[in-house]
């Protein structure tokens, strides 16, 4: 088995998929802990679909995919924040649902007219980790490394703002800045992850590892460590088995996340 394990990762496309999946998994799960705690997981799939629409639109118009998807994610975030300030007439989740459906519908229309057709629709949803280039990995590292450093250095400010923004602000913290940085990082993570790995994988990585980690942890610090302990083996084993058994890698990795989730739930007696 070890022979074929090293053989699997001797291919550049497998190594690129490994590094990119690890970067997406680690960064998404760190940011995702706050996404889950703030009860805005649905925002993750809504933004991922908007990002996917940006990619489809960029393909159609021949523009830069990263820039357009990032721009659309930020515009969507600004719209959501503006539209849900003060008292909500309808729950924000419903508005995110509408945005998700609309973005999906537009993506379908655009992709149906593209050269890839149905294959393009599948790729936008499920991505293709094996098509990631070394340059993509480098860009991912440039985008995600500052986010990891930010969460490492300013975890106490991000936590206080996330737990109780009102009091944090009353006590002198610049909660507007920390909230802005939080949503900015959510946008960057989703836009880059969706472009390289599809809506399904980026949303799964944002929600499932944090969910498992929070289920099994009695401290935030432990939740961060556990989410990494869930992501790293799931990515490595999932990728290897997808190679060995000829399955789509993103599906195999997420199946492994569910395996961790089942083990955690059994341990907790749920």
């Amino acid at each position: 088995m070890w022979h074929s394990f090293s053989e699997a990762f001797s291919f550049p496309f497998m190594r690129n998929a490994l590094f990119a999946s690890l970067l997406i998994g680690i960064t998404s799960s760190i940011v995702g802990i706050y996404v889950v705690l703030r009860r805005i997981a649905f925002l993750g799939i809504g933004l991922a679909q908007v990002s996917s629409l940006g990619i489809a639109l960029a393909t159609y118009l021949g523009l830069n995919k990263d820039i357009l998807s990032l721009t659309m994610v930020f515009l969507c975030l600004v719209f959501l924040i503006m539209a849900t300030r003060g008292k909500e007439r309808v729950p924000r989740e419903a508005l995110i649902g509408v945005i998700y459906s609309f973005a999906l519908a537009l993506s379908l229309l655009l992709l149906s007219k593209s050269a890839k057709g149905e294959a393009g629709v599948m790729e936008s949803l499920f991505g293709n980790l094996l098509a990631i280039h070394q340059e993509d990995v480098r860009n991912l590292l440039i985008a995600f490394l500052p986010i990891l450093v930010l969460y490492l250095l300013f975890s106490k400010e991000i936590t206080a703002t996330s737990f109780d923004a009102e009091t944090a602000r009353a006590m002198g913290l610049n909660t507007q800045l920390w909230n802005f940085l939080f949503y900015l990082t959510v946008g960057v993570v989703i836009a880059f992850a969706t472009r390289l790995s599809g809506v399904f994988f980026s949303f799964s990585m944002l929600v499932i590892p944090p969910f498992i980690a929070l289920l099994a942890s009695r401290s935030l610090r432990m939740a961060f460590v556990l989410s990494l302990l869930v992501v790293i083996p799931s990515v490595v084993i999932g990728l290897y088995l997808s190679y060995a058994w000829d399955f789509p890698p993103s599906g195999m990795i997420v199946v492994f996340l569910f395996l961790f989730l089942s083990l955690t739930s059994m341990r907790r007696g749920h």
Binding site: A160, F163, E166, T167, A170, M171, S217, L220, M222, A223
Partner: protein, 238 residues
């Protein structure tokens, strides 16, 4: 008669959200050592006023004048509004009150002694490692109070701190607030819809209702006329 030092003043302040006025023309004086009860029916704007005093809500019009430089505030929000899924210990929640003082890029760990001391003061020294979400309602309220106290505030703002506590916990909380006010000289502003409970402790009362805000000494404010105007009924035993 000794003059109290003026800490904070509201001059013809209009408060509201998204262009809609909730409280028009608020005039209010907060003096050092005051124990002020902010009362009124549900939806009268009590929390809106407290948020404005805390500096969280900016006035639409008018002036908020801070008469004492570097005035420090401690804020205790409504407990029910806080998310309970966070895996944070009582100690971690209390330490949040020190984040401003600690500053960015510095660990709060060397200030833990201070947080521990405040937990002892509120009677929760045994609970520092317990998760906030696993504490009882009264204990959670004390943790939030400790978080506000750890920053050594001159004014303590509390939003419904005794609502949904049992009678014994209500009394213990109010006794502690009275102690902070009388012995430590902390100015207290307490929001509650429980008029009777607040009236026993507060020396000044701010009454809110139908967009009106009236403040004065307790006895003036508890006159049958005022109670009828703001609550529609005379106070029990009044």
């Amino acid at each position: 008669m000794e003059m109290k030092r003026l800490l904070l003043e509201f001059r013809d302040v209009y408060l509201g959200y998204r262009g809609e006025v909730v409280l028009p023309s608020v005039n209010l004086l907060i003096e050092e050592g005051d124990f002020i009860g902010i009362v009124g029916p549900n939806g009268a704007g009590k929390t809106t006023l407290l948020r404005a005093i805390a500096g969280v809500l900016k006035p639409m019009k008018g002036q908020v004048i801070i008469h004492k430089p570097n005035l420090s505030l401690g804020y205790v929000p409504q407990r029910s509004l806080l998310e309970e899924t966070y895996p944070l210990t009582a100690m971690e929640v209390v330490s949040m009150g020190l984040y401003k003082r600690v500053g960015v890029l510095r660990s709060v760990r060397k200030f833990e002694k201070k947080a521990r001391e405040v937990l002892r003061v509120v009677g929760l020294e045994e609970m520092e490692k317990k998760l906030y979400r696993e504490l009882s309602g009264g204990q959670k309220q004390k943790v939030l109070l400790a978080r506000a106290l750890v920053s050594e505030p001159e004014i303590l703002l509390l939003d419904e701190p005794i609502t949904d506590l049992d009678i014994a916990s209500q009394k213990s909380m109010l006794d502690f607030l009275t102690h902070l006010n009388k012995e430590k000289g902390i100015t207290i502003l307490l929001v509650s819809h429980l008029l009777d409970v607040v009236a026993e402790r507060a020396e000044k009362i701010v009454m809110l209702g139908d967009g009106k805000v009236v403040s004065g000494k307790r006895d003036e404010m508890l006159s049958p006329g005022m109670l009828r105007e703001f609550f529609g009924l005379p106070r029990r035993g009044a």
